[in-house]
Amino acid sequence: MANIVLIDTRKCMACRGCQVACKDWNQLPAGVTKFRGTYTNPLTLQPHTWTHLVFTETDQGRWLFAKYACMHCTDAACVEVCPLGAVRRLKNGTVWHDADKCAGCGLCVEQCPFNVPRINKFTRVMGKCTGCAERTMNGLQPACVATCPSGALEYGERKELLAKARARVEELQEQGFDQACLYGETEMGGLGRVYILTRPPAEYGLPENPQPAASAWFWRAAKGPLRKLASLTLVSGAMFSLLRWRAERIQGKRGDQKAV
């Protein structure tokens, strides 16, 4: 049964406990950052920053907060395209990434409509939120949810939380947030991270109608034969090298990633 994290942005006060708890549980290093005229820091997700809080000042003088990380899509493009099966969807809905299998080829980077996966330049391994599967499979909440003081994050069964979320949106609309809406109910087959928003998704930088890149069909079609190829021990080494080479090319070309 699929579980989700429900993110009630109305209850989020951007303390960034989630951002630190993620680094703590996953033992991810801190980067050296600069203050760049916004509280958002780092500005983008990184191989060693799997979730971050984005602060958006709107023209109307509002200050919107939303936590970003992998959306754990039901129809996850990264799962579809990964030639080595390093990204897969677990039974509980988590899009799990196996670093040992990853060659850092970057196909997932190209396909993700949320611009989530990041390739570590040095280790050549993709980094993204693992959904704390090692916690959730053992009866614990994801680290970010466990630390949230205000109750803005909730982890649980998709159907139940969706029902709760719909009621909450209605309640917000009654309170005068006439543009309150849900995000993630249907996108990409249903996201594993569902947002309760008080403003339209675009104001938070969320894509209106997320789609995998157009080339996804090709990789989906090619995945079968490629996997078979990879399973042959003789050629797997060569294939790994090929994907590594590709990763280097992408790295050189793309430079810094655009913010989510």
Partner: protein, 780 residues
């Protein structure tokens, strides 16, 4: 605070003023959200759109330092529109008391101002032949407190208030209507405050204004109400209770003054009121002396009263200490878990003052800016003669002890890990230090008696950790046989009991199962959780709780009854804060505030240094004239000789204000050394409006220089729409906001905002005015 964190869930309206609760007390939002789930509203009063303001239902921007104008406006609104809780006010406050005929207030000054100080004689009540205050329960007498209050605040009409504060009149109306609606019986309004209220030259009066508003609306002593000071550090409540202040002894006993209190009898006679619970003060005081000097303290030697240091009448607060240091009066200093080189006002002055010391001992978990003042940027270490010792201390998880939270809950914490390297617990350091000093005095020394006779029985032989439970027992109090006292009602003034802090008595009264270690969640009830830790005093969770019911004992809000009269007896969800055993409701209703001699709350207070009623004055450095009177600032403000030049608007046209962010803690020495936190907020920044940035040609992310007469700092500019200029009496006033977490040490250093702040303070507490001063800003 009068109430506690979990109790916020019962509020109907929560007003956060001078506190950024979401950013600096994130856990508070759990309970605020619980209240909002039931329809409560959150109001944030703050110059900036903070993270609290961003999630609030109403944001009211106001000019820094004008809280009394706003609160006075709300008081006036409640009175003018008859929204106050009349029955509560008549029964539980001093509204009906008649004041002396010579009490007067004119042009911003109260009667009795003599030589920069108030003589409070004319602020007293008119007494009858038996010495009891005269009262008029109809509240009609022109000299009764209610009428005087009403007249005083009638000057705080909406237009005047908005001109002073820069509030938008429509926003003011919204806040006034929303908040004053809690004056209805059964409704609960909760005011949260912190340093935005206290760090002012009228900080005490800011708090008083909150208390008056809450009393008028019947919001004190009820679930979901209260005057709730959110303390800025995990255990700052504990350090205040234990008297880390120059003018107090543990448990809020006043420090003796050499001039007034030559003998124990003098102290007790002058400090003990005739009525109210403080009439027990001799029991608390003598038990304290017994705790400190044990068997050496006897009736014959006035329980060693003469061994207690006395104040000499001079101000010995933080700013004054640095002044004295600058003048060469202080030779040595212990800086223990404090970092004045970053946190003190006029920080560069304070750093320079440290150079006058012969020696300094810094005890901390990192090398702070204070500990390394001798090698700070711009000085040559060889020019500084001070000998500096750095003692590495254990952090909170590396030692055992209690932490007292803002709700007065004393909670035991166990050691999780051993301290690294040579780091030691504070208790270990204090114990070894004392033993070495005692050994030195046993050899030789001036006046050795108070040192060598100190009752010091905490073990800690050799390198051992002293027994902290012995310290806990001493604080709790024990009888002549050394058995823990149940609570402070058993304290005696004949030397038969000892108690290190009377208000804590009861927190460690059972060595097998001390209440401070209890962790039992309440299964049903209203969130008071009586078996989770211990709340001082007497495990009372909500102070003044007689006021939760009407004079007949019926709860104002029957959904959340706290203590009420039912079927001929008292029923309770909390420990009563009033005489209740064999006492009927109508009788107890006459004495709901047992700590005051009147036994009723003071709307009008004859004991505050700067006036019986809060009056709006401008901060000492202000860009505008006081619109309410010709008295520009508090007439009895604490100026320190070292203040130097004040800023004037020609050179320093903008209001500077300081604050904290979620990501850092205090002077930042812990958090700037934590890479995960420093990554989130790596550099010193200042927040300015887009309008100010445009006029000065500053772009978002530019380096800027902020100056005051005290000094200058560099920072990164954050040009934001969250900070707007305010229209103050037709003039646009700009604000420069800055966090004060940075200094020259640690992994992520930066300039300190407190280099800019002035050495001026509140006349009651000497707390510095960090929140409103004048500054200038330019591109670097």
């Amino acid at each position: 605070m009068t109430n506690h964190w979990i109790d916020y869930q019962h509020s109907d309206v929560i007003m956060a003023i001078g506190v950024n609760t979401a950013e600096n007390h994130p856990m508070s939002m759990r309970w605020i959200e619980r209240a909002r789930a039931k329809g409560a509203r959150l109001i944030s009063v703050d110059p900036r759109l903070t993270r609290t303001a961003a999630v609030a239902d109403i944001w009211l921007p106001l000019r820094p330092g004008t809280d009394i104008a706003l609160l006075g406006g709300l008081i006036n609104y409640a009175l003018e529109n008859d929204l106050f809780h009349r029955e509560y006010v008549v029964h539980y406050t001093n509204a009906s008391y008649i004041l002396r005929a010579d009490y007067a207030f004119s042009d911003g000054v109260f009667s009795g101002l003599e030589g920069g100080k108030y003589n409070t004689q004319s602020w007293q009540y008119e007494l009858d032949d038996e010495g009891r205050p005269l009262q008029d329960p109809t509240l009609q007498h022109p000299r009764c407190v209610f009428q005087v209050l009403k007249k005083h605040y009638s000057r705080y009409d909406r237009d005047t208030v908005c001109k002073i504060t820069g509030c938008n009149p429509a926003d003011f109306d919204k806040v006034a209507a929303t908040y004053c609606a809690t004056g209805k019986p059964g409704k609960a309004g909760n005011i949260l405050y912190a340093m935005g209220i206290t760090q002012s030259t009228h900080g005490t009066q800011n708090v008083r204004a909150i208390a008056i508003l809450q009393l008028l609306l019947g919001n004190i002593g009820i679930p979901g109400g209260g005057v709730n000071a959110q303390r800025g550090e995990a255990n700052v409540q504990g350090s205040t209770d234990m008297a880390m202040l120059f003018h107090l002894l543990p448990g809020y006993l006043n420090m003796p003054q050499a001039k007034d209190h030559a003998t124990l009898a003098d102290y007790l006679a002058k400090e003990t009121p005739a009525s109210g619970y403080w009439s027990n003060k001799p029991k608390f005081f003598i038990s304290l002396l017994k705790a400190w000097w044990g068997d050496a303290a006897t009736a014959d030697n006035e329980y060693c009263y003469h061994w207690l240091p006395k104040l000499d009448g001079r101000n010995r607060s933080h700013m004054a200490i640095f002044d004295a240091m600058q003048q060469g009066e202080i030779r040595g200093m212990f800086v223990w878990g404090q970092n004045p080189a970053v946190g003190g006002p006029n920080a560069e002055y304070e750093r320079k003052a440290l150079e006058k010391l012969d020696w300094m001992v810094a005890v901390d978990i990192f090398e702070t800016e204070t500990a390394s003042f001798w090698r700070r940027p711009g000085v040559n270490p060889t020019d500084i003669k001070t000998e500096v010792f750095l003692l590495p201390a254990a952090a909170s998880y590396e030692k055992e002890g209690t932490v007292s939270n803002s709700g007065r809950w004393i909670q035991w914490r166990y050691q999780a890990v051993a301290p690294p390297g040579q780091a030691k617990s504070d208790l270990w350091i204090a114990d070894k230090l004392y033993k070495a000093i005692r050994a030195a005095y046993q050899q030789d020394g001036v006046f050795p008696d108070p040192i060598v006779n100190l009752h010091w029985n905490y073990g800690g032989e050799g390198e051992e950790e002293p027994d902290i439970e012995q310290v806990a027992l001493e604080i709790n109090g024990y009888d002549a046989d050394g058995r823990p006292l149940r609570d402070f009602t058993l304290l005696r003034d004949d030397g038969a009991t000892a108690c290190g802090c009377w208000i804590y008595s009861g927190y460690y009264n059972d060595l097998e199962d001390p209440p401070a270690k209890r962790r039992i969640r309440e299964e049903q009830g209203i969130g008071t959780n009586p078996d989770w830790a211990f709340a001082w005093p007497l495990n009372r969770r909500i102070l003044y709780n007689r006021c939760s019911s009407d004079p007949r004992g019926k709860p104002w809000n029957s959904q959340v009854p706290l203590i009420w009269w039912e079927d001929g007896q008292w029923r309770m969800n909390d420990v009563p804060d009033f005489g209740w055993k064999d006492i009927l409701p109508e009788q107890s209703a006459k004495a709901p505030f047992i700590m005051l001699p009147e036994l009723q709350a003071r709307l009008f207070s004859p004991t505050v240094a700067d006036g019986p009623l809060p009056e709006h004055y401008e901060p000492v450095e202000s860009p505008v004239k006081n619109l309410l009177s010709s008295q520009q600032h508090n007439p009895v403000v604490t100026f320190l000789p070292c203040l130097g030049k004040l800023a004037v608007t020609d050179e320093y046209p903008y209001i500077g204000t300081t604050y904290r962010v979620s990501e850092h803690w205090q002077s930042g020495i812990m958090t700037r050394n934590s890479p995960w936190l420093a990554e989130l907020a790596p550099e010193m920044f200042v927040e300015i409006s887009t309008r100010l940035a445009d006029s000065l040609g500053i772009a978002n992310g530019d380096k800027v220089v902020v100056t005051t007469p005290r000094g200058q700092i560099q920072a990164v500019a954050y040009v934001t729409r969250r900070l707007k200029p305010l229209a103050v009496n037709g003039q646009m006033v700009e604000i420069v906001g800055m966090p004060w977490h940075w200094g020259y040490r640690g992994l992520f250093p930066g300039d300190s905002a407190n280099v800019l702040t002035p050495h001026v303070g509140d006349p009651n507490t000497s707390i510095p005015e960090y929140k409103a001063f004048l500054c200038n800003i330019r591109r670097a």
